[in-house]
Amino acid sequence: MALSAVKKIDYPQVPSAAAAKPMVALQGVQMAFGDFVAVDDVNLTVADGEFLAIVGPTGCGKSTILNAIAGLLKPAKGSVTIDGAPVKGAGGDIGYLFQQDALLPWKTSIENVELGLMFRGVGKAERHEKAKGWLAKVGLKGFEDRYPHQLSGGQRKRVQMAQALITGPKVILMDEPFSALDIHTRHLMQNELLRLWQEERRAVVMITHDLEEAIALGDRVVVLASGPRSRVIDSFPVDLSRPRDVAEIKLDPQFLELYKNIWASLRGEVEKSYARK
């Protein structure tokens, strides 16, 4: 477990998995909507194969940061690079699992899963074969010809997962991916995500407002300040051994210790953001 053998550090902006090469790097990033500066001077590095979880109060700019990495939004200042190359617009080597339903409602599951390959010019037979394999991988064998509205919320999330991962992206972005699911489905999907990720480790940036989820899944948890002008205020390595079971790990004394520490940091920001409203 190379990634969990990271020494504990206090300084937030030092990448925890210093050994692996940096896959995602944000330097002095400022994101603004007109005059409103949502996040300012964000420095963040995600190593190859690292699972980074970002927590922060609602509206602090988590989705905005993710959209900057995906190339959907341009930073007002600073730079975003993926594997050393600056991000130029959407459509790079990235898988993005959106918080909301993002499937194309007029396409069946398999047509949805195929999209990434189709846009990359992969032939019909090959992409069909691959998409079928991915649907089976996320437990949806036999659901190939269903339209999104004929699937449950959890099933739609699985299709979205297969859709985002089929191209084997260098970086996987997830925006509160399981927040809309009931607790049992959520645990199931979290374990499934860990299983898939363990098969082929990629750099992952996952946003969540659920601190337990952040610790259970992540190699590192980063805390954002309350907005506006939010920035990274803390970074906690998670030295819990893998493979993990998300339900069981919550009883681990080390987990509880981490939870206490991170919550101490996060709590102040949540209260600040609450007081502003």
Partner: protein, 257 residues
């Protein structure tokens, strides 16, 4: 209410209205010059539909309707998608579009006859001007209301401009366009009939105009009823087409439990 009792009540209403009308005429309460007895109208309809030359008129009106609909929809979709995507063009062209749409189409009929002659195409042109705007506004709305998350997802998956058009914008606009199908086909019929009515040598509108010229109220009423049946049949065909075309919409198939 039970479907059978609904049907029964509908039948009773029909019998009372038609029967009352027929008896009113027989009793001399209703002037048969303005309201000819239903039996005569029925006889006229039967005379028409058993005569092969009648179908030439139906065929011409149908051709004008279909051409008007297809051309108007194609132009409307193209313009609607374009202006839906380009806010600048939409802002610039907005007053012109509103102005053109404000023109009552009937006044265009003589101009189209002048330009295109008394034949088929002047009627098609009139139908196009009616159909175009319905489709245009719906396509524009459809493109503007594309779910931004779905759009972002397609972009992240690597879709370029043309692929976004094909896989996101057109399908999103399609449901709006199909929802306006009824209205626009109705307009296509109206355009064709008005065109024929105002100047032509064939078609259902011509039959009505001719009957009117002869003060033949029976012919006018029979023509109106034929038109109503014509539109109802088209409506049924559209119903079936709509169900087949949009399979991905929630109301068309039952959700699994």
């Amino acid at each position: 209410m039970h479907a059978n009792s609904v049907r029964l009540i509908q039948l009773v209403i029909l019998v009372v209205v038609v029967g009352g009308w027929q008896m009113g005429v027989s009793a001399g309460v209703i002037d048969r010059f303005f309201f000819p007895p239903p039996f005569e109208i029925g006889a006229q309809i039967i005379r028409w539909i058993t005569d092969t030359s009648f179908y030439k008129h139906v065929g011409i009106t149908l051709t004008e309707t279909v051409l008007g609909y297809v051309i108007g929809t194609a132009l409307g979709v193209t313009a609607g998608v374009w202006l839906g995507l380009s806010r600048t063009s939409a802002r610039i062209l907005d007053p012109f579009i509103k102005g053109l749409n404000a023109i009552p189409r009937v006044v265009l009929a003589p101009i189209f006859v002048l330009w295109l002659g008394l034949g088929l195409w002047s009627k098609v042109a009139l139908a196009v001007t009616l159909v175009f705007f319905v489709t245009f506004f719906n396509a524009m709305q459809g493109v503007r209301e594309v779910n931004p998350v779905v759009l972002a997802n397609a972009r992240v998956l690597g879709a370029r401009k043309g692929e976004l058009l094909r896989h996101v914008y057109f399908p999103a606009a399609a449901s709006w366009i199909l929802s306006s199908l009824r209205t626009s086909v109705g307009f296509a019929v109206v355009g064709a009939i008005i065109g024929e009515y105002l100047g032509s040598s064939a078609g259902l509108g011509y039959l009505i105009a001719q009957a009117e010229g002869n003060f033949d109220a029976v012919g006018v009423f029979a023509g109106i009823i034929i038109l109503a049946i014509f539109v109802l049949i088209i409506d049924q065909i559209l119903d079936a087409a709509e169900r087949r075309l949009i399979t991905w919409r929630p109301n068309t198939e039952e959700r699994p439990a």
